[in-house]
């Protein structure tokens, strides 16, 4: 019976893509992250935060209530908008934000799925596609505020692309691979996480992650005191909800990559463990826990920082971060030679 292994293979891999660490986990994580962000901000700001939806569990269902609201709200299509682009762009943005996930392994089990050896390259390449749809979102709205927001997005996209790539390149030089699995194995063998091997690259990566997901202090495209809602000024209903969720998905993916490249991946679980539980589930939990801590730290920044101005962010991108990333690459080269 050659059919049975095929069926098992299909089920396992569907499970992998759809449930873990795929769509279901993302959904739960995004919903909980939004709740957590609001609660963290509320704690720093000496107040309750979301509470009265499900008061007994501290308002934990607030995000789900918001999701329901977005789902059933009336959708308004502005008159002057480019309707096709207006309707398509948020969905495309959302799905392209999700795509990198198929190239991000959360356990050694993953080898059987995509033995490509280029997963780092693919995932980083896919990450940089999302902002292009963000620009389309702003452009199609026929609103000056959205338009300015998309221009800002474009400026920031260009100025932070290179540091992102360079910081990853710095780690690739050390790991001498374009695949996540050997990269994690490298950290496990040397029992050194990437953040200690090359802290500058880690710093650059985290700054770029803040920037590209629009966390404070780089909340420039959505600066509400200037641009109302930035790109999503004209959006409503589910389209708005999708637009709001996209940065959180990006944040999740950036955090996953960060924990794989810099925090030792599924360490302390061995890369040699196999099977659905040992090879996928437990390592996955470890990676997602690490990613979640990174995300929690990044959303905490909201309660500390105001936002930078566009020109300051762009200038620091070309002025400081790019030099930092070049230094990170140099450090990696030196380390690679020495080791």
């Amino acid at each position: 019976m050659a059919l049975l292994p095929l069926i098992i293979w299909l089920i396992e891999d569907l499970l992998y893509v759809i449930v873990f660490p795929g769509l279901v986990v993302i959904m739960i994580i995004v919903i909980f992250l939004i709740y957590l962000e609001r609660k963290i901000a509320a704690k720093v700001q000496m107040r309750f935060g979301p509470l009265w939806v499900s008061k007994k569990i501290g308002g934990a269902l607030q995000s789900i209530a918001d999701l329901m609201r977005f789902s059933f709200q009336e959708f308004i299509l502005p008159n002057g908008s480019d309707s096709l682009a207006f309707l398509m762009a948020p969905g495309l943005m959302f799905s392209f934000a999700l795509l990198p996930l198929i190239f991000i392994p959360v356990g050694p089990y993953y080898t059987s799925l995509f033995p490509s050896g280029l997963t780092i390259l693919f995932s980083i390449a896919l990450i940089t596609i999302t902002p292009i749809y963000a620009i389309i979102v702003g452009w199609s709205s026929d609103n000056k505020f959205s338009f300015i927001g998309s221009l800002r997005e474009a400026f920031l996209l260009i100025s932070y692309e290179i540091p992102l790539l360079l910081s990853v390149v710095a780690m690739i030089i050390i790991y001498k691979t374009l695949d996540y699995l050997p990269a994690v194995a490298f950290q496990e063998v040397h029992s050194l996480p990437g953040i200690i091997i090359n802290p500058i690259a880690a710093l650059v990566f985290i700054i770029v992650a803040i920037r590209s997901t629009g966390r404070f202090p780089f909340d420039i495209t959505e600066a509400d005191s200037e641009l109302v809602m930035g790109l999503f000024t004209e959006y409503s209903a589910l389209f708005f909800g999708i637009g709001m969720a996209t940065p959180y998905i990006e944040l999740y993916i950036m955090s996953l990559i960060f924990s794989l490249l810099f925090l030792g991946g599924w360490w302390p679980i061995s890369s040699h463990s196999a099977g659905l539980i040992g090879g996928l589930f437990l390592p996955g939990v470890a990676v997602i826990m690490k990613a979640f801590i990174v995300m929690a730290i990044l959303v905490f920044l909201r309660s500390v920082y105001p936002r930078y101005r566009l020109d300051q962010a762009v200038r620091s991108g070309w002025d400081k971060i790019i030099y930092l990333s070049i230094i990170a690459v140099l450090v990696s080269i030196v380390e690679a030679i020495v080791i």
């Binding site: 704690k43 700001q45 000496m46 107040r47 309750f48 905490f300 500390v304 920082y305």
Partner: protein
């Protein structure tokens, strides 16, 4: 354009202190919010809330009507209750009730009142009675203009079963809510 150098913190010190302060507030218990309406404040006795008039003290002089800045007070003929029946003032004698000396009484339109308490202070006999009830709304438009009889009864406090607290200045949270005695 002035370009005087000024003392600013270094970037690293500035970021560290900002993050540290934020983190300190994240872990420290510091909430200053009142969980209204699960908790309600017991307000000081001089709080300017809904008020009524002492029917016995009032002499019907209309000073309150004249001083009222938003013109919320109107003088209405007095209505007394005698033997369970409510009758307008001019019918008092015919039903055997004791005639009142003055026949006008103030009634406040709550939709207009701004709670400045000028009526309290202009009243030559100090006939108004204050209460700290303030968090009240009315079901429909007519309820904003009570009849005199309705007006005489002070509105009931909403959220009766809520926890009563008093606010106290606190060195850590600014305001601390303690259960009222």
């Amino acid at each position: 354009m002035s370009n005087k150098k000024r003392k600013t913190r270094g970037v690293i010190e500035g970021h560290t202190k900002a993050l540290a302060t934020g983190f300190r507030y994240l872990v420290e218990p510091n909430r200053m919010t009142l969980d209204y309406p699960a908790e309600t404040i017991k307000l000081p006795s001089n709080y300017r809330g809904f008020f009524t008039v002492d029917d016995k003290k009032c002499i019907g002089c209309s000073m309150c009507e004249m001083v009222c800045p938003p013109e919320a007070i109107t003088m209405v003929p007095r209505v007394v209750s005698s033997g369970g029946n409510t009758v307008p003032a001019d019918q008092e004698t015919s039903t055997g009730a004791k005639p009142a000396k003055k026949t006008k009484r103030p009634v406040v339109n709550w939709g207009r009142c701004i709670f400045c308490y000028f009526c309290f202070d202009i009243c030559p006999v100090d006939a108004f009675i204050s209460s700290p009830v303030h968090d009240l709304s009315f079901y429909d438009d007519a309820d904003y203009r009570p009849t005199y009889e309705k007006y005489l009864k002070l509105p009931e406090e909403p959220y009766k079963d809520s926890k009563k607290v008093t606010s106290k200045p606190d060195l850590k949270r600014g305001i601390k809510y303690e259960p009222a005695p």
